[in-house]
């Protein structure tokens, strides 16, 4: 069974990029366009890994992450933060909130793939 990956980003090209990078044949990819949608899908689908954009209208990636970490079922799900904000303070905030990885945009697809493979394998 393919690992299920939830990608949450309000930017369609970014979701496309993630899908293209990971490949539908290797991963079961679920897309969410907003934070609220991501939480719904996370609860419903129980993904093996979540990719979260930080800066989204409405609920931000950090808000979503905090809610995930306070949910017993999703507490241990690995999360990779994708963000256009690349300051050290942003990384620290993400790590404090419980992110497993932090990838600043623009990121290398291969790096993303490696991170996903590593985290999924670790589960």
């Amino acid at each position: 069974m393919r690992p299920k990956i939830l990608i949450c980003d309000n930017e369609a090209p970014l979701r496309d990029l993630v899908r293209a990078t990971l490949g539908d044949e290797l991963y079961d990819i679920v897309e969410a366009r907003s934070g609220t949608e991501a939480l719904d899908l996370a609860v419903r689908e129980g993904p093996d890994l979540i990719l979260l954009d930080v800066m989204m209208p409405g609920k931000s990636g950090l808000d979503v992450l905090r809610e995930l970490r306070s949910d017993d079922a999703l507490r241990r799900t690995p999360v990779i933060m994708l963000t256009a904000r690349a300051y050290a303070s942003d990384r620290a905030a993400a790590e404090q909130a419980g992110a497993n990885r932090f990838l600043p945009k623009p990121f290398s697809p291969l790096e993303l793939l490696a991170a996903v493979e590593q985290l999924v394998a670790a589960r």
């Binding site: 496309d16 990029l17 800066m55 209208p57 409405g58 256009a84 945009k105 623009p106 990121f107």
Partner: protein, 682 residues
């Protein structure tokens, strides 16, 4: 601190008066009393001189009279006169002349006044009638010894007096008159002697005031001093004291009568020498008093100067203090200064205001106020730690920033207060509100984050897909799809950069280029058709004025605004419908409006519409697209034209976006003169 105002000069003047008045009084009284004492002494000295002189003269004249009387009473002289025994007569006369001091000549006359004999013998005199002489008339009138007035003797020319007595025989018949001429040489010697010993000018006059003796001066002729008040008073039988001007000089004179003979004596001294002692005393008093007064005045002047200098200094200090206080109260900051023990040295008005606003204790202990403020800040832990650091280290200098739960931000600057070259006196706390700065800062941070995000997002797609292309070399259909995405995102990035640079360039700027008159109606027609008629989903309605709608401005920029509104109208009415474009005149302006039947705008988003990077529904940019800068840019362009932009909308009811620009450029509506709102909405 305010001093009681005392006019120093007035006080000092009063003091000077109180000091100088008694001094002057003392000087006056002492000289006056001394003068009186000296005057009394001089008076008594002169009076005693006069009295002595008077008694001596009296004795001398009485002796003369007695002598003449005793010779006249000699029976032998009477009988010799009767018998005309010349030799006997001559012997008697000679004896008389030789017997007493001062008798110059002796004459015997007949009862009728005819000279019978003289000593010394004067050949031409016997037989001469002397009955006109005063002494003759006096002795015949009184019938007894008589002392004459002064007269000039034929011989010398010097004044003499004569004492005459009748010569009677045993039966009382008058045989003739015996007269002795007395030159008063003795009196002159006497006056000279008295003048010398008594330091006074002694003068003797007869009953007519004729001077017989005048100290130190020979009496050469008959001079009457009857006019002299002293002589006159003495001749009237009085004795006394008088000050007179004589020969142009002030004299003090004592006078006395020679009572038996009704003569007068006087003793006088020049006033200056008489009162020399007074003068000396006065000089001494002045010598001491005047410097004393001068020293006193100088002292008081210095005191006045010092007092007024002190007052001036005090006033200047007061003024300085007022200026300093006003200055420190005028700053928007809350400033307090404390001593090393934490007690307040100073608090300005702003400090008291903040303490009051936040309900902190109204205490004079600044340290306590600073610590208790922990209760009203957002992060008490950090605050307390930092304040402690200031209070514990007297040398520490720095700032401390904190927020309060009411949404305000603050900055406290604190440093030791140290007058040059001394250990710290205490510490100053200067609290300033930084709410606005923090807001601007946060807005800026937000803006940077947003721009960064907006630029990085398309960039991330481009970089990502290009890397996938390079790494995986996918099949042509996939490659085409990737390249399309890259191209689209690159275009988006380009637009974004253009719009962003555009808006940065327009903000706060005046429109300078490409100003020309153009027909708005034509522009509306052209652009509406190009944007809306090109879609298959929307219907276009255009309402124009009958005449051309001529406006002045940058037609390309206005077209940019209109295109933006048109694309938004199409974009935000995904279900299609009619887009109505209207161009009309409105109160000197051209008003263009674009109405759609689309999604509309929720009330809570309305204030964000003209902000940068705002999208009504930005959950999926694939659906809507755009840079999020269009309306912000449109607003800047319209403002730069001196116009207005706005909208009316309700959620689900579509929107009408409109803008107005002036039809003509009046003097009062120069382009870009309207103030621009520089606070950016994010």
């Amino acid at each position: 601190m305010r001093h009681v105002s005392v006019p120093a000069t007035r006080v000092v003047a009063l003091f000077a008066l109180l000091c100088i008045l008694p001094l002057v009084l003392l000087t006056y009284l002492s000289t006056r009393l001394a003068a009186e004492a000296v005057r009394e002494r001089v008076e008594s000295e002169l009076a005693s001189t006069a009295a002595v002189t008077s008694s001596v003269v009296d004795r001398e004249l009485s002796a003369l009279e007695n002598l003449v009387e005793s010779y006249a009473a000699r029976p032998s002289l009477a009988s010799a006169a009767e018998a005309d025994q010349k030799r006997v007569i001559a012997r008697h006369l000679f004896e008389l002349r030789a017997s007493g001091a001062g008798i110059e000549a002796v004459i015997l006359t007949s009862p009728e006044g005819i000279v019978r004999s003289t000593v010394p013998a004067t050949p031409e005199l016997p037989g001469t009638d002397l009955s006109y002489r005063d002494w003759y008339r006096g002795v015949t009138a009184s019938g007894r010894t008589y002392l004459s007035d002064a007269f000039t003797a034929t011989a010398g020319g010097r004044p003499i007096v004569a004492s005459a007595a009748p010569v009677r025989d045993a039966r009382g018949r008058t045989m003739g008159y015996l007269a002795a001429g007395y030159e008063a040489a003795y009196l002159r010697e006497l006056t000279t002697e008295l003048s010398r010993t008594h330091s006074a000018e002694v003068r003797i006059t007869d009953r007519s005031g004729v001077v017989l003796a005048n100290a130190g001066q020979p009496v050469a002729q008959i001079v009457s001093r009857h006019g002299n008040p002293a002589i006159r008073a003495a001749l009237r039988g009085n004795s006394g004291f008088i000050e007179l001007d004589e020969e142009g000089k002030r004299h003090v004179t004592a006078y006395a009568p020679v009572a038996d003979f009704r003569w007068a004596v006087s003793a006088s001294r020049p006033a200056d020498s008489a009162y020399a002692a007074v003068g000396r005393l006065r000089n001494i008093v002045y010598l001491l008093g005047i410097p004393l007064v001068l020293v006193l005045l100088a002292g008081l002047t210095l005191l006045t100067g010092a007092l007024s200098a002190r007052r001036r200094a005090e006033r200047a200090a007061e003024e300085q203090a007022t200026i300093a206080r006003t200055l420190i109260d005028s700053t928007p900051d809350a400033v307090a200064m404390m001593k090393s023990d934490g007690e307040a040295l100073f608090m300005n008005a702003g400090w008291r205001e903040v303490v009051r606003q936040y309900g902190m204790p109204e205490t004079a202990r600044i340290a306590e106020v600073m610590e208790s403020a922990a209760a009203v800040v957002s992060d008490p832990e950090v605050y307390r730690k930092n304040v402690r650091a200031f209070l514990d280290d007297p040398e520490r200098k720095g700032t401390l920033e904190f927020d309060t739960p009411d949404g305000r931000s603050w900055r406290v600057f604190s440093a030791p207060v140290r007058p040059p070259g001394t250990p710290p006196l205490g510490r100053i706390f200067s609290l300033s509100e930084t709410t606005h700065e923090r807001q601007v800062e946060r807005a800026k941070e937000g803006m940077v984050a947003t721009v960064s995000h907006e630029l990085r997002t398309p960039l991330a797609s481009i970089v990502g897909f290009v890397e996938l292309l390079a790494e995986r070399d996918p099949e042509p259909p996939v490659r085409k799809r990737y390249l399309e995405t890259v191209s689209r995102e690159a275009k988006r990035l380009t637009e974004l950069i253009n719009d962003f640079l555009d808006i940065q360039g327009l903000e706060g700027q005046q429109l300078r280029h490409n100003l020309a008159e153009f027909d708005l109606g034509e522009l509306v027609q052209r652009e509406s058709e190009r944007v809306v008629a090109g879609t298959e989903t929307h219907r276009l309605e255009i309402e124009l004025t009958a005449e051309p709608l001529l406006a002045v401005g940058d037609s390309d920029r206005i077209a940019q605004v209109l295109v933006n509104l048109l694309t938004n109208a199409v974009k935000y009415s995904p279900a299609g419908g009619t887009v109505t474009v209207r161009a009309e005149r409105s109160d000197g302006n051209a008003r263009i409006s674009v109405t759609d039947e689309g999604l509309g705008i929720a009330e809570e988003h309305k204030h964000l519409v003209f902000g940068k990077f705002f999208r009504v529904d930005s959950s999926d940019t694939r659906l809507i697209g755009g840079t999020g800068l269009g309306l912000a840019l449109a607003r800047e362009i319209v403002r730069a034209h001196g116009g207005r932009i706005g909208f009316e909308s309700g959620l689900g009811e579509g929107s009408t976006f409109w803008f107005e620009i002036p039809l003509e450029l009046g003097a009062d509506r120069a382009l870009g003169q309207q103030p621009l709102d520089r606070v950016q909405q994010v």
